[in-house]
């Protein structure tokens, strides 16, 4: 009797165990299934990203290997994915034909002088908008932001008229030519906006403390605010330099064919303007490498600053 009871009990518990393990199996299966689905979707995501990544990287890769190929190899019916003979002479040829020294000097001169001017005007204006109370502050600021909507082409036309009348476009006036490429770019509303946001984050207590210490507004700006805003100022500096490196339209109008005052992009386009000459591809791609690599180096070293500025860009397309 007791034994029977025991058996029954045992049977009962085993039933329970069976039932339990049954439901356990089904949830485990479900989990496994969703895990599989998760892995499958991850695989697809990675496949997609790798495919897109290859499309993004490929032009860079093709630029570099073509810059090292011989003309003979470029003109094979089947293209090769790695140069059979590495021809460094493409680079010497590119440097020589570009007249790289002159282009670099011009671009750095224009880039650095226009950047320094911009930094000064931007610091002053951002300080006024962020820290000083004056009548019409919000109105003026809104007006400036609104003017960013106007297409730059409208200004280019009249600015070209203005600098022409000043004699800054005449080919004998080298100083004027450079002034025309620098002075109109001494102001940027977007960077004023960027720096003003940064200045506004600096706590008022610092300002009051500086006042107690008997510091003037001027000293406070240069001894406290500017050092604190260094990251943003670095961003402006880098983006502005990249802007000079990439500018084509305006210097092209100003130089109107005078190679001595070309900036790097004008020099690149003008040197390799002949349409389709495969013999030239090696040197041409070497020249594009020479123009592209400094930008990529800037990106590698100042990645944080560049992405910060670009991420907050308002009008830049």
């Amino acid at each position: 009797m007791a034994k029977q009871e025991e058996y029954k009990f045992a049977a009962d518990t085993s039933d329970y165990v069976l039932a339990l393990s049954g439901s356990e199996a089904s949830t485990a299966q479900k989990e496994k299934l969703s895990k599989v689905a998760h892995i499958v979707s991850l695989v697809f995501i990675y496949l997609f990203l790798v495919a897109m990544g290859i499309i993004i990287i490929f032009p860079f890769y093709w630029m570099i290997i073509t810059s090292l190929k011989e003309g003979k190899e470029i003109q094979q019916m089947q293209q090769t994915f790695f140069p059979q003979v590495i021809r460094w002479e493409n680079y010497t040829e590119a440097f020589k034909r570009l007249d790289f020294g002159t282009l670099l000097r011009n671009t750095l001169l224009v880039g650095i002088l226009s950047t320094l001017g911009t930094l000064f005007t931007t610091i002053f204006a951002a300080y006024a908008f962020a820290r000083l109370n004056f009548k019409g502050r919000n109105l003026v600021f809104a007006f400036l932001l609104g003017s960013m909507m106007i297409p730059g082409e409208m200004m280019v036309i009249s600015n070209y008229i203005s600098v022409s009348r000043l004699g800054w476009t005449s080919s004998s006036n080298t100083v004027g030519n450079f002034a025309a490429m620098i002075v109109p770019f001494w102001v940027s509303i977007f960077y004023i906006y960027l720096l003003r946001q940064n200045f506004k984050q600096i706590p008022n207590e610092l300002y009051l403390a500086a006042k107690v210490d008997g510091k003037s507004d001027w000293e406070f700006l240069w001894k406290v605010m500017v050092p604190l805003a260094m990251p943003t100022l670095t961003t402006i500096f880098i983006l502005k330099l990249m802007g000079a490196w990439n500018s084509y339209v305006w210097p092209n109008l100003i130089a109107s064919g005078n190679r001595n005052i070309f900036l790097i992009t004008n020099g690149l386009r003008e040197t390799f303007s002949t349409a389709d000459n495969p013999n030239d591809y090696g040197a041409q791609m070497a020249a594009t490498v020479v123009v592209t690599v400094p930008l990529l180096l800037l990106f590698i070293f100042f990645r944080k600053y560049i992405m910060r500025g670009v991420g907050r860009a308002g009008i830049k397309g």
Partner: protein, 312 residues
């Protein structure tokens, strides 16, 4: 204190305001003014009265009615610009959103992918345009190699090839523009994705909604402010396309088979700068005002649409 700060503030603002007055505000007004001048000589500043002729020359679709610039604008620049816009804006937004969604759902190698996808942003549009023109080269281009074609012309005509078919040239430039415009959009979308509250996803998980459904029903609507912003800015950007044309097709904007479409890839902005270089600043001014009006109309329309569709 108040009055003292007043003049001080204007002193701090003076450099910016003077420069803006000379190089931004005056030019805007002057460009409008010049666009209505007859026989304007920009060096001497002389003209013979006011006229609408510049607008007629630039905008009339019939050369018989005084459309002197008919071939350059109505037959070339405007169709090119519109086609580039219609093709590249939606395409680049969709692709960049897919990439951003992908990047947002992975952890391993995320940084590496982000860096790779940002690379096209830090390049020189003209230098990379030249690279694309080598890739699409007629006789020895890797693109022809990959699709198994021979002597198919995309950018330039060479000895053994047919003249460039317009639609192939359009494909090449759109490919390049989309490639070049992805990084910025990915960056903005990733920023938007990171700001989406995790609560929404937890709720979707409890409802055991499939991943694609979560993306379509939750992520995309919550990204709508970024999508609208991208639509407006990339629309304006693609209406101002210029450097990509110079990079890919050279300083003349290419030469295509006129039987297949416009005979070059010159865009509206290309036309404007070309006219400035040719000293026809009155035509350039009229065209730039036309550009301004189009940009404003589209921005307004998109703003109206967004009031109904965007979830903030």
């Amino acid at each position: 204190m108040e009055s003292k700060n007043n003049w001080k503030a204007w002193l701090y603002l003076a450099p910016v305001l003077i420069l803006l007055a000379v190089f931004t505000f005056y030019p805007i007004i002057n460009t409008v003014y010049v666009s209505f001048l007859k026989d304007y000589n920009y060096m001497r500043g002389t003209h013979s009265g006011f006229t609408f002729e510049n607008y007629v020359a630039v905008l009339t679709p019939y050369s018989e009615l005084g459309g002197a610039m008919f071939n350059d604008v109505m037959k070339t620049a405007l169709p090119n610009t519109l086609l580039i816009t219609i093709i590249t804006v939606p395409l680049s937004i969709i692709i960049s959103m897919l990439i951003a969604l992908g990047l947002n759902s992975i952890k391993v190698l995320k940084k590496l992918f982000q860096t790779v996808f940002f690379m096209p942003y830090v390049t020189n549009a003209i230098a990379i345009g030249m690279v694309f023109s080598v890739i699409f080269s007629t006789d020895y281009g890797i693109f022809n190699n990959l699709i198994g074609a021979q002597h198919l012309s995309w950018i330039y005509r060479t000895g053994q090839s047919d003249p460039v078919n317009y639609w192939r040239a359009l494909f090449a430039i759109c490919f390049y523009i989309v490639w070049h415009s992805l990084p910025y959009k990915i960056l903005i979308f990733l920023g938007g994705l990171q700001n989406i509250d995790a609560q929404y996803y937890d709720a979707a998980k409890i409802d055991s909604a499939p991943k694609w459904k979560t993306a379509l029903r939750i992520t995309v609507p919550l990204l709508s402010p970024q999508i609208l912003y991208m639509m407006i800015t990339s629309f304006i950007g693609s209406f101002k396309e210029y450097n990509s044309v110079i990079g890919l097709f050279g300083a003349k904007g290419g030469a295509f088979d006129a039987n297949t479409g416009p005979s070059s890839m010159q865009t509206m902005v290309f036309f404007i700068y070309d006219q400035v270089a040719k000293n026809n600043v009155h035509y350039a001014s009229a065209a730039s005002l036309f550009l301004l009006v189009i940009i404003m109309i589209f921005t307004l329309v998109q703003n109206q649409v967004s009031k109904k569709r965007v979830h903030y």
